[in-house]
Structure formats: C-alpha cells, structure tokens
Amino acid sequence: MPPSTPSESSAPSPTYSDISLRVNGETYALPVDHRTTLLDALRERLDLTGTKKGCDHGQCGACTVLVDGRRSLACLQFAVAAQGREVTTIEGVADGDRLHPVQQAFLDLDGYQCGYCTPGQICSALGVIEEHAAGWPSAVTADLRPEAGPAPLNADEIRERMSGNLCRCGAYASIVEAVARAAAPDAGGSCAGVCGTEVTA
C-alpha cells in the first residue's frame, strides 16, 4: 500500500460525528472527533478512567476492554467505530459491591503492584477464561486438532494467553495464580495446580 498522498481538492467531509456508545450496559450520547479513540472517549469523555493508557500503540495491553464480549484494545479503535458495540470496562466487571471472582483473586493473591496494568489484566483474564471455555487453542496448545479436545487451562496456557498484558512491576507469578484460581473455583482454591509451585530440583 503506498503512503498516503492526499488530494487536497476533495470535498470536505465531516470529521466528527454524534454517536452513542454502549458501555457497561449504559448508553452514552456524545459528539466525537473521529480521531478520538475508544480509550480516550472512555477516559476523557465518560470519566471511565479505569481503562489505562500504557503505550497507546497496542504494545502493552493496559487498555484491554471487552467489546461484544471479546477482549480487545481500546487504544487501537476509534470511538466512532465502536458505535453499536457493547463495551465492558473494568468499572462494569463487579456486580455492585460484590467483586467478580477474577477481581477477588487478584486482590487476595496480590496479583498486582502499582495497579496500572491491573484493569487490563483483569479484563484480559475474563476474555481468556471465555476463550478457553469456547475451546480456542493457544500457541502452547500441543495438539491443535479439534478431536484432541480443549487443553486444560494450566499455568503455561495462562501465561501464553495473558502475554498481551505487560506488567512492569513483575507481578506475573501472582497474576497467573489469580487467573488459575478464578478459572477453577471448583478446585477449592487450589489454583488448578498452579499456586505454590514447588521450587525444588
């Protein structure tokens, strides 16, 4: 694709739109500059600052939200293009005062430090659990054949699937434990064999 060589003579088209955004079950009507990303719309226009801006280029995952139920990056989509889609941010994850099990596990297991990547990690974890339940494989799934059935969501699978969420504090170990615990609540908090990994020869 050649670099853009804009024709300055083309008729002016509107560069803003009145849109409505569905976020956490609420509908917001707002005019947007087309340049406004979903991330900036959430943070600057709707005061939903839980979604973080770590790099603004799709290279860190801090802005992860759910769009139509799938995790995606709010920094790489324009708000105008998100019209008609159902957006869930970290502010919409808890059930009132009751934390979502993923949130609770992050809190209990110290799955964070500075907290800045945390909303993205949690939204991503929600997506990971859904995607795994839907039978989606990952890059570390040994046998991709559908006949092989879904691989268990073990620590290696969680690590690979969560790799789009960088954490500079290095809370990775506890994050993996938290996702494992939240994904397998029936395991009696045993974190699907992920927690308390013995470090011995």
């Binding site: 500059d33 340049r35 406004t36 900036d40 600057e44 005061d47 939903l48 600052t49 839980g50 979604t51 973080k52 801006k53 770590g54 790099c55 603004d56 280029h57 290279q59 860190c60 801090a62 941010t89 970290i90 502010e91 994850v93 808890a94 934390l99 949130q103 992050f106 809190l107 209990d108 110290d110 964070y112 430090q113 500075c114 907290g115 800045y116 990547c117 945390t118 909303p119 570390v140 620590a155 690590r159 690979e160 969560m162 790799s163 789009g164 969420n165 960088l166 954490c167 500079r168 504090c169 290095g170 809370a171 990775y172 170990a173 506890s174 993996v176 990994t197 470090v199 011995t200 020869a201």
Partner: protein
C-alpha cells in the same frame, strides 16, 4: 473520650500486625478501576499540553514556526524558548545542583535527540497531538557523538580509585588462578506502565499539582525553587503511582504543566507519550566492565579489580556505580575499583532499580562463577571461603550479614546439592539445561522524614506522611507499622500519604522509603503516646504528635548496613535457534524485618523478573547516524512478558539487627541484584559458553553455539 495508653492496646492483633500477610488497603480500588492516577483526576476547564522534542542530537534551534499551529482548531498556546517564562536555575535539589533538563525552554541549545523544544497546549488531547505533530522546528545542527566505548577519548575516572593499583597488580601476579573478563550491559529503560503525567492549576493563590512521582515533597520543593515561589504555596499530590523504578523524580512534564497553567491561567495536564519516556525520564546507562580476580588454587581471593565504564550526558554527570558492588562482598587481600564516565550527546541517565548494583553484580557475580569453574570449586563454596569480617574498603563491621544463610537455605530449597557441575551435559529434547547461582546485596539506608499521627476522637488514628506508594505496598506496610506502634488493630489506622502538605519525607527510592517513613511514624507514635499518657481528653479535632527523624538517623552508629541474597536459576537453551527459556528461579533474602509477607513476596519476585528481563530481553538501540533510538516503543524495547516467566519463588531468612531502631532494611531493589548473573551462569552451565554481553539474545547464542564437549548423553 478519655484515652490512656492502656485503652489503645485493645483490639491488638495477636503478636502484632507486622510480619503477617495483609492485602493492600487500596486493593479494591485497583481491581475495580476506581483508583485514580495523576492523569485521571478530572478538573473543569482542563487544557492539554503536548510536548515537542528535538529530532537532532546536537545543535541549536533556529526557528519555532508557531503561526500555523496557533491557527489550528483548539490550540491555545505554543510555549518554547522564545516565549517561556524564566525559571530559576540556581539552586540545589535533592541530587545536587539544578538539573538542566528541568530548565525547560530556557535557551536554544539542543544537547540530545528528544530534548524538550516546545509545548503545544490545546482544548482537547486530539487537537494538542495534531498541532504538536504539525509544529515545524528548525535547527542548526552540529556533529554529534553517541558512540559509547571504554576506549572513548573523553572517558574519565569519576573519583579517586578505591584501593591501590600497584598492590592489586602485585596480588594478581602472585595469584595461581586469574579471571580477567569484560562484561557489557546495554542501555536500559524504566518504563513504568503509567507514563508520567501531571496536572497543574492555580487555586486560591497556591499552585496545586497532581503528579505521578516518587516523592511529592521533593517535587513541590523543586517546583517552588524553579518558579521562585514560597514553598508553602506549592502543593503536590500523587495518591496512586503506576510504577516508578527511579524514573519518577521531578521531570519536565510537571514543570511544563506548572508553566502552562501559569501562562494560561487555567488547569493544564501534560502526559508523556511512551516514546517520550525514552529521553525525558532517565534510564540506566550502558556499561562496560572489566573484572579481574586473582585467587589461590583453593579459591581464596587475593585480588579483586573492578573497572566500570558508563555514559552520561554532555551537561550533567550521572554515574552508574557498577564498580562499587564488590566493596563489601568479599575479602580479597588487595582490592581496587573505579567508575569511569564517557560524556556523550545523549540524555542524562538516572537511578534505575538497583543503580550500580544491577549491572555491577552481573559482572562480578559472573566473574566469581568463572573463578569457581577455574578452581574446580562449587560457586557457593567459593563464596563462603571469601566471606569478609568487615567491609573491605570501609573496614566497618556489618550490622548483620546473612549471605551464607541465604545460600544455605536457597541451596536446600533449590536442590543445589544434586547439581552436576559439568557444563553442557544435560539435554531434554532440543533444550540444553543448566542452573546457576549468584549473590545479591543492596545497601540499607534511611533519610530524614517527618510524620504526624493523630488520635481521633472516635478511637481511630490518622497517620499523615508524604510517602509514595509506587506499587511497593508502602501504604499498607506503614499502616501495619503504625498499628503495632500504637498497639491497636490495623483497622483502626487511617493512613494518608503522597501529599506534600504533610511535610518533608524521603522519596520512594533507594530501598529507603518504607524504612525511613516507618522510622518517622514510630517516633511520632512514641510522641503521641507520651501525650496520651498524660491523660486528658482527645478533643473533637483529635490530638496530634509529629516527629522528624533527622537527629536519630544521624545518631545511628556507623556500620556496613546491607540486605543480602542468593539467587538461583535454571534455564533451557536451544543452541540451534538461540532461544533461552528460564525454567525456574528462587531468591532467598536476608533483608531485615519483613513487614507484609504478601506484598514483600511480590516485590522480591518483581525484582527477580527485572533481573530475568535484564538478562534476556532489555536493550534500547541507538542509531549512530541520527543519535536517536530505533524502535523506541514497547514493541522495540522488550520487557519480559507473562510467557517468559517460569515458576519462581522468593523466601527470606531471619535477619535481625539489634542496633537498628526500625529493623526494616528495604526490599525494593535487592530482588534484581544478582539475578541476571545467576541466569548467565546457568546459560553457561547449560551450554558451556560464557555470555558476558547482555541481553543474551538469540543471535548471540547462535553465534556462540555450544561448546563441543563430550557428555554422558551425547550433548
């Protein structure tokens, strides 16, 4: 309410709160997204500032063509050296004389790529960004020099070398075994997940600033000096900080927010882009280190010489003190070390997690491993053979030194005794396996701080201190410390931090924050309990006592005070693709009183992950032709991702310092120290090849291949 000392002992946690696991006080806010960081506090009439940085490495600005940009929609102002208010540059800050980087827009000189040249302020972030992109700045360029090398003609020794040259050379000559190796580490960057952000406004005659920093009192003090304001008229807050690691001192964004708010008479926010972090907030200098060790055949060290080179800018000296690491590690007969600086047309480096110790420990702890190999000794045995009684340079005794206890317990947990010392003999499919170890050390210090503790009329206590919780868990740790000092349950403590109005206090840095703040809180509690012991009623507004630890810190006896640790790592290396995968890591630490085991583990592990990231991934690449970076983003500058992190564990041994009134040593940095060395030593053990240049990239592993060694499994 009548309060006597007896009354405040009610509800005391059995055995005290310190030492038991507590989730973070702000944890709920962080997991629900309600914790607001500096760029997220809403203000009416907020304008948005976007920085424009130089694209040349050396020269001067000849024109800033503002007219076209000022005509763009929403643009309010373009600040640059031709119109910016004058700043005071004649003051001493926390780190010596005023940082020229903070003298924003005060002259037309450009000393490196990424130097601030203009700030565009607009009504919306989109308008500010487009206008900043569109702003034309013209330069008269001059030849630049960004090529770092120990052979650079401008290299100079930074201070008198420690120890004697002749004595060291003699001891090396007399040594039966000598290691002489050159190690390099690249330019590394902090990259906290939250880019620097600040909002400033004038409110009731005061400059009010919300900033992302490691010490709001210091930022307030520096802003007052820069703008020649009464210190009492500046207030800086930093309630939640999205990571810092040394990068979040006073930085240009906060100076510019204050400047623009002053010029425009309205609140202004300045947020740095990820790319801008590469030149505005400090970084770890690249290093070249030559380590020479001389020993007897039995491994007893006769000589240790550590010469370290780092880069700095042309306008400010910052020394990455790598050569200092060995000063208290071992007890050679002859010791010599010196740090050298090469001034270049690059940004000034700064403190980055374990400054000096991180690269210094990589070089020395790899060299020790090489010595162990040459002597045919286990590397832990070699270290225990060289334990010093006192600091080899200072001659001072250690306040506590539990390095060997860390190695003993670490070796037990890691299964070190089962390790076959031979390199390059373990294969599992395409992977060669190996393990390695290294020692860690970081100094334990404290700096004067003030704190206030208030007994409230409702029976609770409020602690106020200008501490910063940059993710360390300081807020929670300090609440536990206050609870124990008051002998009440932590639930009765309200802790308020990160507001310069609470008075001067140490920054969150140097692994000194929690130790310094705890000391002040404990002294304030003591003063409060004395007041309460006199009996009487707590008035409705509460009863407050304050403390300043300046006197008690200076009264502390002179000793070598350090945290110690032992790092263990196991790696898998595919020499046909160059991939290195870490299998597991263990860090054992002797770091004084561990206040909150839950968050302490997180900090230790975070440090170890930094060490892994340093060993295998991190490297900023500078382009000689332009003098700027190539790939200056998080896709080009790799930090470890989830998939890079194996099962890892951190533990600690008892480390009691009877002489210390607080007992806390600080744990923010020791986790990274020695971790890269342990990994590099493990890569050697796996492949038989020493990797002395970080990061251990696939292309380097491929180039080195695997040493041809006959192994039992045909490796």
């Amino acid at each position: 309410m009548t309060v006597a000392t007896g009354a405040v002992t009610g509800n005391r946690a059995a055995g005290g709160a310190v030492g038991t696991a507590h989730t973070r006080l702000e944890g709920r806010a962080k997991v629900t997204g309600t914790a607001r960081y500096a760029g997220e506090v809403p203000f009416a009439e907020l304008a948005h500032g976007q920085l424009v940085l130089s694209t040349v490495a050396r020269g001067r600005i000849t024109a800033v063509e503002t007219d076209a940009v000022l005509a763009m929609p929403g643009v309010l102002e373009v600040l640059h050296h031709g119109n910016a208010p004058r700043l005071n540059g004649d003051y001493a800050g926390m780190l010596g004389k005023a940082d020229p980087l903070l003298q924003v827009f005060q002259h037309e000189r450009v000393p490196h790529v990424g130097w601030p040249v203009a700030l565009v302020v607009a009504e919306t972030p989109e308008q500010a960004r487009e206008a900043a992109d569109a702003l034309v700045v013209r330069y008269a360029t001059e030849p630049h020099d960004v090529a770092f090398s120990e052979a650079h003609p401008a290299a100079y020794g930074t201070d008198a070398e420690t120890g004697g040259t002749a004595e060291t050379e003699k001891a090396l000559d007399a040594s039966e075994v000598v290691v002489d190796a050159r190690y390099t580490t690249p330019e590394e960057h902090h990259h906290p997940m939250e880019p620097h952000a600040a909002m400033a406004r004038w409110d009731g005659g005061r400059l009010e600033v919300v900033d992302s920093n490691q010490g709001s009192a210091f930022v307030a003090d520096e802003l007052a000096k820069l703008f020649s304001l009464d210190p009492a008229s500046v207030r800086v807050r930093s309630e939640h900080v999205g990571g810092a690691f040394g990068a979040k001192a006073t930085r240009p964004h906060v100076v510019l927010a204050a400047m623009a708010a002053t010029v425009l008479h309205r609140p202004v926010r300045v947020v740095l882009t990820r790319r801008q972090l590469f030149s505005l907030v400090g970084y770890r200098s690249p290093t070249v280190q030559r380590v020479r060790l001389g020993a007897d055949a039995d491994g007893r060290l006769r000589a240790l010489d550590h010469q370290a080179y780092c880069a700095s800018s042309s306008f400010r000296e910052f020394i990455e003190r790598s050569a200092d690491f060995g000063r208290v590690m071992y007890g050679p007969d002859a010791y010599r070390s010196q740090n050298h600086v090469v001034p270049l047309d690059v940004p000034t480096p700064s403190f980055m997690r374990a400054p000096g110790e991180a690269p210094g420990s990589f070089a020395l702890e790899c060299a020790i491993d090489e010595l162990a190999e040459k002597c045919g000794l286990d590397p832990i045995a070699l270290r225990s053979r060289n334990e010093p009684e006192v600091g080899v340079v200072s001659g001072l005794p250690f306040s506590s030194r539990n390095l060997l206890a860390c190695f003993e317990e670490g070796a037990r947990r890691f299964g070190w005794s089962e390790r076959d010392p031979r390199p390059g003999v373990r294969r599992e499919g395409r992977w060669l396996l190996g393990s390695g170890t290294a020692a860690a050390r970081f100094p334990s210090g404290a700096a004067p701080s003030t704190a206030a503790v208030t007994a409230e009329a409702d029976g609770t206590f409020t602690v106020r201190i200008t501490a910063a919780d940059v993710g360390t868990g300081a807020r929670t740790a300090l609440a536990l410390i206050a609870a124990d000092a008051l002998e009440v349950a932590p639930e009765r403590i309200r802790i308020r931090i990160a507001d310069s109005d609470f008075g001067p206090a140490m920054v969150a840095g140097g692994s000194m924050g929690t130790r310094s703040w705890a000391w002040a809180i404990v002294e304030a509690v003591r003063a409060l309990r004395e007041k309460l012991a006199l009996g009487g009623t707590v008035p409705p507004q509460g009863l407050t006592a304050r403390a300043d630890t300046g006197a008690s810190i200076s009264a502390l006896s002179k000793k070598e005070r350090h945290s110690f640790g032992a790092q263990f790592a196991e790696v898998a290396v595919d020499v046909t693709t160059g991939e290195v995968r870490v299998r597991r890591m263990l860090g054992m630490f002797a770091a004084g009183q561990i206040v909150n085991p839950l968050t302490a583990r997180s900090q230790f592990l975070g440090g170890m992950i930094w060490g892994l990231s340093m060993a295998l991934h991190e490297e900023a690449v500078r382009d000689g032709a332009t003098g700027g970076h190539v790939g200056a983003d998080l896709a080009g500058y790799h930090i470890a991702a989830h998939a890079d992190i194996p099962p890892l564990e951190a533990g600690w041994v008892d480390d009691v310092d009877e002489d210390d009134p607080v007992g806390i040593k600080g744990i923010g940095e020791i986790g990274i120290v020695g971790a890269a060395a342990a990994l590099a030593n493990a890569v050697w053990h796996a492949t038989g090849v020493r990797h002395r240049d970080l990061p251990i990239r696939p292309d380097r592993v491929l180039a080195a291949g695997a040493a041809e060694r006959p192994g039992p499994e045909g490796a």
